[in-house]
Amino acid sequence: MKRSASGLMAASAFLLATAFGHAAEPFNLAIPLPLTGGQAKFGEMMKRSYEMAAEEINAKGGVKGRKIVLSFEDSQAKPDSARAIVEKLIDVKKQPLIVGEYTSACAKAVAAVANERKTPYLIVASADDSITQQNYKYVFRQNVPNAYYAQGLVSFLREKVQPKTMAILYESSDFGTSGAADMEKWAGKLGCKVLVKEKYEKGAVDFKPILSKVKQAAPDVLFMVSYVMDASLLMKQIKELRLDAKLYAGGAAGFALPEFVDNAKDAAEYVMTATLWTPQVKYKGAKEYADKYKAKYGDFPSYHGASAYSALHVVHDALSRAKSMKSEDITEALKKTKLQTAYGPVAFEDKDGYQNQCFSETFVLQVQAGEHETVWPYAYANKKFIYPFPRWRDRK
């Protein structure tokens, strides 16, 4: 009953909006994303999430009575293509704000243009620390910067594991490099010695040589920053080598995706990972979004999707509050954002050398019985963490 009532309301809101005719000119929003090439997976997940958000917003009457009409432009993860798209959106399509992109390289290209052209740009899932350290007035970032990704994980290490030694493996990308560097700093603060720190080229086939070196070093914690398939290959080969550490921890990204568990299967069990968002997190709308996504596309989304989904709500909120549809006014409205979203509370602060940066809680997931469960911080946990866990040879 309740659902149909809200549906009715939405429909009538829509009818009202169209009845008052002239206002119904749609609000076109084009979003640059990688839809082909190696990053397409993430582009696709975000695209779906944006679409889901747009549907909801439109069902509730859109932006000031105007329907949001989304379109997507494939930047192929190439900075010059991303820039071309954004130049077009700003100059030709007169789009007053930019949302989107995924890779940090593209986000940097877009951010520079947007700031030069005084057009607000909301970054959704690009991690590189430096993007919001450039004194860009018009660039906003909803996800925390890379340096904060592992915050939740570090607090877990401090309180529950107190490791003495650590090994760090990371992919050779800006994300991997700065993630590993940040973790090394944290380890120093925890009084934990880093025994091995090695990077690898994304897409490597065989990690066993490096893993046997790690095995020999026998660290308490093995921390890895990897994309999804490298993550599952790593865990599979760790299992194969019976490399026993007290804790396997991932630095968000690959380890937090459902595909990680799907592909690594039992090798993924007990693995913990930092993440920026979880489907179980007790933010309003988070579960609804996650369930809806899963119902539609078969799998839970990761934080990338949730951030994209919520970003559109943030945009909606800012546009609704903005005095006009001009870039300056939208920027002002974005700056004053205080919104509870499925991704958590969103507000943009100038803090710790960052500008217009949203700082939010990060979490720790653990794979338990083949599912990602939120285990840390306590306040958000839906399952108790399992630690310590059995050694490989004692597992079935």
């Binding site: 082909t36 090439g37 190696g38 397409a40 997976k41 582009g43 696709e44 050779s172 090695e198 990077k199 690898y200 080229e201 897409g203 490597a204 086939v205 065989d206 990690f207 066993k208 040589p209 490096i210 046997s212 070196k213 095995k215 020999q216 999804v228 398939m229 599952s232 290959l233 599979k236 080969q237 299992k239 194969e240 080598l241 019976r242 595909e259 799907d262 592909n263 299967k265 039992d266 090798a267």
Partner: protein, 309 residues
């Protein structure tokens, strides 16, 4: 050297040999095509991706083991290769152009089409075949309780390795003993002489490209139990195939095996003792070194020795 260091070294060597065997199979198709036709096929990795998708769908839809799919993907890729060669590459080779390399660009185009067709058809999701034996391994400590060191030998890696050897042996037999195989070798060694001997060179080229595609398709099937799959995966394997082809010697399948093993061992040892980030640098450095100092590849060393007897 203490026991732990020995363990690391042995484990690294095992990994290197197994990796090398799989690399060899990727290189095998390339070396055949390059040896016979002297063309650079930049769609090689994409053909492997097609083979992997076949194995993936066979597994997901019908539960057919990827190792069985070798016999399904191989023939299918053979026909795909024949089509590509017959209707695209041959057409370009026939026309006279300033640079023969426009054929290469053609294969880039083919690769682009294959990769984006896969994106359209299967989305860009990462996939793998979660076979039951995916992470099983033999352990030294299970066989020998008192062993001072622990070594593991992955079952799927070993099976893939043996398959690779078997396929190479099969290919060797085909090239040495069958008429078609002999004609292919003749075409590879001396085009003019082959023409004089009445070899239907056009047909041999078509067959060769088909065969090369089938081999790399089979390699895809052997890879998927231990690796994963997504549409844009081809590029890096094309590069590996080049390295092996040059290292082993153009057109030599024994060379491809040795080239693969050398590369596998080299990469593994670099990863352990220098740093895994540098392994790809090493890959290309030995590649350039082989081009310069060993123009005929490892195969030329073998031949020289045989000649000496």
């Amino acid at each position: 050297m203490n026991a732990a260091q020995v363990e690391v070294l042995l484990q690294t060597l095992i990994a290197g040999v197994l990796l090398g065997g799989l690399y060899a199979l990727i290189g095998l198709g390339m070396t055949l095509i390059m040896g016979v036709m002297k063309i650079i096929n930049l769609a090689h990795g994409e053909l492997m991706m097609v083979g992997m998708y076949i194995a993936y769908w066979m597994f997901s839809l019908f539960g057919i083991d990827p190792y069985v799919s070798v016999f399904i993907a191989g023939p299918l890729l053979f026909f795909l290769g024949i089509l590509i060669q017959k209707y695209l590459i041959n057409t370009v080779l026939r026309v006279d152009s300033i640079l023969p390399e426009n054929q290469v660009i053609l294969t880039v185009g083919v690769g682009m089409i294959l990769a984006s067709a896969a994106t359209i058809a299967f989305k860009s999701d990462y996939r793998s075949t979660p076979v039951k034996y995916g992470t099983s391994a033999f352990y030294l400590s299970d066989l020998w309780k008192g062993s001072p060191i622990e070594l593991s030998l992955s079952i799927p890696w070993s099976v893939s390795f043996l398959f690779a050897l078997a396929i190479t042996a099969g290919l060797w037999f085909f090239l040495q003993r069958t008429d078609t195989g002999k004609s292919i070798r003749a075409t590879a060694q001396d085009l003019d002489a082959a023409l004089l001997m009445g070899v239907n060179v056009q047909r041999m080229r078509v067959v060769t490209f088909g065969l090369g595609s089938a081999l790399v398709g089979a390699a895809g099937c052997l890879f998927i139990p231990i690796y994963y799959l997504y549409p844009a995966l081809g590029g890096q394997f094309t590069l590996i195939a080049f390295v092996i082809t040059i290292l082993g010697g153009l057109g030599s399948n024994v060379g491809a095996i040795l080239g693969g093993l050398i590369l596998g061992l080299f990469e593994s040892l670099t990863a352990t003792y220098v740093g895994m980030g540098w392994a790809p640098v090493g890959r290309f450095v030995i590649f350039i070194a082989a081009l310069l100092f060993l123009p005929g590849g490892v195969a030329s060393l073998l031949r020289r020795r045989a000649f000496g007897k």
